[in-house]
């Protein structure tokens, strides 16, 4: 996510400030030589991430309502046994939230970010093992609406974790390769916010799948 949130860079335009070419009268005022505007406040990283979270909440709210309605709509719902490894992956994800929070507060976030990245990958691996466990017991995607929702919700959450891992990869790479990265704190803050959200979202989904069987 953070890789997409590139700040506004003042760009030099060749031959005057004309955005659409210089063959116009009244087009070249200002010129391209003056100091460009300084990038606006980094607050927008936080704002943007909160809004993205809002959109994701709506996606999972829609899934939740579908879950509740589908469960009540007919009598073919057979609850599934949740794979036990989910407790372990939950613990891993909770730990990763702690580590990214440490990264956020550290003056040198390198190691904590890398640790978070590894924990995130472990979590994904664990989720995959959970799928394998289920499949081994003969419960597939189309077996029952309950299993459909299990795969759907864990899959969509996993996709978001994957996005978070990509963002972390980018941030880790920038942090290691570019010590003077101006927007470092803002990027780490935004990534951490996203990561905490994914953590909370997983707790919610786990709870939903466990309690509302």
């Amino acid at each position: 996510m953070a890789s997409l949130l590139t700040p506004v860079q003042p760009k030099k335009t060749a031959g005057g400030a004309g955005g659409r070419g210089g063959d116009r009268v009244g087009d070249g005022s200002g010129g391209g030589s003056g100091p460009g505007p300084s990038p606006p406040s980094l607050q927008r990283y936080q704002t943007g991430m909160w809004l993205a979270i809002g959109a994701m909440v709506m996606v999972f709210a829609a899934f939740t309502s579908a879950y509740v309605v589908r469960k009540g709509a007919s009598n073919d719902w057979r609850p599934i046994r949740l794979p036990s490894i989910l407790w372990l992956t939950t613990a891993v994800l909770l730990t990763s939230s702690v580590s990214i929070e440490r990264a956020r507060r550290a003056s040198l976030p390198h190691r904590w970010l890398t640790a978070t990245w590894i924990l995130g990958l472990l979590f994904l691996a664990g989720q995959y093992l959970a799928w394998r466990q289920l499949a081994a017991s003969g419960v597939y995607l189309a077996t029952n609406p309950s299993s459909s929702f299990f795969y759907l919700l864990t899959g969509f959450h996993g996709l978001h974790i994957l996005g978070g891992l990509l963002a972390l990869t980018y941030v880790v790479w920038r942090v290691w390769s570019q010590p003077a990265w101006q927007a470092r704190q803002a990027a780490v803050d935004a990534t951490a916010l996203y990561w905490h959200f994914l953590d909370g979202l997983w707790i919610y989904l786990f709870f939903l799948l466990m309690v509302w069987r």
């Binding site: 659409r20 116009r24 606006p40 704002t47 709506m58």
Partner: protein
Amino acid sequence: MAEMAHSHAAVHVHAAPTGFIRKYIFSLDHKVIGIQYYLLSLVAVFIGMVLSLLMRWHLVWPSAKIPLLGSLFPEGAAGGVMTPELYLSLMTMHGTIMVFFVLTTAPQSGFGNYVLPIQIGAADMAFPTLNMLSFWVTFVGFLVLLAAFFVTGGAPLSGWTGYPPLSALPEAGPGQGTGQTLWIVSLAIFSAASLLGALNFITTILDLRARGMSLLRMPLTCWTWFVTAILGLLAFGVLLAAGALLLMDRVAGTSFFVPGGLVVSDKIIDHSGGSPLLWQHLFWFFGHPEVYIAILPGMGVVSQVLSTFSRKPIFGYKAMVFAVISIGVLGFGVWGHHMFVSGMSPYSAIAFSVLTMAIGVPSAIKTFNWLGTLLGGKIRFTSPMLFAIGFVSLFVTGGLSGIFLGQPAIDLFFQDTYFVVAHFHMIMGVASIFGIFAGTYYWFPKMFGRMMSEPLGKLHFWFTFIGVYSVFGPMHYLGLTAHPRRYSELTGVKYLAQSEPLHLFMTVAAVITVAAQLLFFFNLFWSMRKGPQAPMNPWEATTLEWTVPSPPPHDNFAGAYPVVYRGAYEYSVPGAAKDYLMQSEPDGKG
């Protein structure tokens, strides 16, 4: 689209090809991206218009041989005669293209992208890279949708609402295979792009406003883009989720929406327990806000234009803001009025009906404030002004028929008749299009540095205004005679025989109206090259985009940060030297 941007830009730019790609194809500049969005919807509206013309033709002459049709659609129109299935697929694609790639794209992503940052005094959107990505993802979504025409079986038949089980079962019809899958994928792509866009718009408004640009000094256009973006942020995720479920029903054998015991095309369907109603709830939870996503930006443009050309402050600025916000909020609570006959408890229906009626209040506030703005103004009947007034007329007409449809008892009769077609075309289709036209005539000088032809614009307005009433007005009457919609051929039906002359009239009107749009296309592209040079502020308007050259420099304010001293609509201020005060004009000079 890329070709269009290419040919257009090639006229003006003498830059090296590498610079060209960065400046005009994968540009980060919100102005270029705005124009890209606008051109994309121009292509889309042209295709959508041709599809509607083919349908109108077929409704009057169902067995007519249409010359090119047979070679375009060898499956759906062998020998040039349209099959009922092809009719349905044209209808589906017309609706989908128009709703998503025209009504959602041009007013919000097009004009919003171009004008919003300048109007609030920012150098660009908050996240330029994200902005570029939104456009190109939308573009890919458009290509995926068009691809549905050319796969085996052709485009889907299930309408822009894609109700299952029809949309969930590949065996349900010729377009229900790959075509329907592409349709779902296209909508998912569009949703993702719209979410990125919405996030960008909201952040820009919250964090990038110039000094002095308080929320309540923002032009009403910015308010409508703001509220529209919030609606988009909350609604498109739900469509995305619903699309994912539908796709899984199609390709992974799940049963979210498909009930058990279905036999389709002599085949027993291997699904059980799914709920088609669930799709309708999810879809309309998105779909109703979507209607406001289409119309709200038009309302903003109309407010701006009416105030400018009446030379009066907008009547009741704060009431207008309040009305926009309450329309947005209420818009999330009325989706059930699309489902009165789908199997809904009468009590829920009443609740949805009451909320629907409640939207009439802010809508009426807006209408009366527009009329109040016109009242006693020194009105300048320019092309944008004509289209803005036309918008108000269409909004009232379409809104009034909504009051009938919003009542469950009356809707029992009207649902699935042409009355519904008349209603949503008036309010969502044509009114929004008039908003786009008003915006085009109004901001064209800023966007392209040249003026459009006024006589051509006025001619375009009168043909279009009378034209759309002639096309969609009679549909109300058809609805009263219980003429059902969506049927490709009803010419032989006895109780509808009396409506055949009316169908002929509407088709002739549609041909003329569509032909009149060529005036617009000509005016647009001719003026880009040959129109007279536009001054900085041709309309003597007050908002910030008129303080910068036409077209504006790359970062809008050439490195400077504007400061805002007053509200957006200070026209005919008593004691002022001119009849308008720019937002950037310091207090002392007033």
